[in-house]
Symmetry: C2
Subunit: 217 residues, 2 copies
Amino acid sequence: MARNKHPEETVRLILDVSFRLFVEKGYEHTSIQGIIDNLGGLSKGAIYHHFKSKEEILLAVTDRITAESNQMLAVIRDRLDLSGKEKLKTIFRESINRPVQNDIFTVAPDFHNNAKLLFSLLHDTIDNAAPNYILPIIQQGISDGSIETDYPEQFAELILLVANVWMNPMIFDSSEEESYRKFMLFRQMLQGFGLDIIDDEMLERLQELASIYQKNK
Amino acid sequence: MARNKHPEETVRLILDVSFRLFVEKGYEHTSIQGIIDNLGGLSKGAIYHHFKSKEEILLAVTDRITAESNQMLAVIRDRLDLSGKEKLKTIFRESINRPVQNDIFTVAPDFHNNAKLLFSLLHDTIDNAAPNYILPIIQQGISDGSIETDYPEQFAELILLVANVWMNPMIFDSSEEESYRKFMLFRQMLQGFGLDIIDDEMLERLQELASIYQKNK
């Protein structure tokens, strides 16, 4: 392939190929050279023009997945046919059911050795996802009487930190059994706020993801 | 001072002096040379024999504070006169009332630039403090009927992660107002588990700590 004249297409190609290799071989076992070999003639210089390291590629891959997730969150947030509580339930179900989750849990980057990735996840959770997507839903839920709290900003942060970080088997290396028990406790926590929104289907799907992670880590 | 023949005394001296300087001048504004200048004649070689960097000294200072905290937790855990619920309440009160907290919040290391410190805190919370100190108390609370959950291991982790990490103004840079609102939401979360253990005195103390941090950061 000749050098691409459209840099955004080059970047997309690099991210597509890298993510596929991360899923197939694992992040640790993928090299920059291995990525170049799969880029159909793109030069080493071209890839280094966009990314200084494999870690930068991983961060960009993660950012792209986050952006797609945020689009999904925005669609649910803006629906007119659901109460705040129903929106929260829909967000949890849709989030864990996304097919890309299987790939993410297969790649399973080791957050313990990758502080930038953990900080990037914490930053997106607190500074973006919680205030922009979860908070408006909780505020709606308080108005329509389906969610009980006087501290919507803090509740939005707490829910997402628990769901995205503590219940993330990639960060805390939970077994299937531990993932199940964490989700059950999360359910009890939400019930304390009047939110009975975790069902058995979600519990099964979360165990499935934990199982994919455990097999590939 | 001549070179100390007892290495553990040398280490203690280095940690005492370093912690005092961190509190007085801030971690960022303290240099290894500044620490040496206050060690009464201890050589540069002697300090580098024990610590390779200022960051290593900070981690050792943090470990020592954690060890002292764990001693306090063990004493409360092993008391025979309190229910599980009363022990949890006592632990929260004693933890935030420790005078060393004022120093810790004055030093206020920037966790965003210090991944090792964040991982060290996460590791101690999940692998040590939760299973060894909080879990036995929750199990006692389940037995004596003062705590309601079927997932004591996960509840122990969740409580400590929320209290030590999310409510830590050094990690999430919360203002006094935000700290207050986080603590109020934490109170609501605990009430959902049948635990009405946060009182106004604790709320005032936490705001005081957040204020110390905001003044010194």
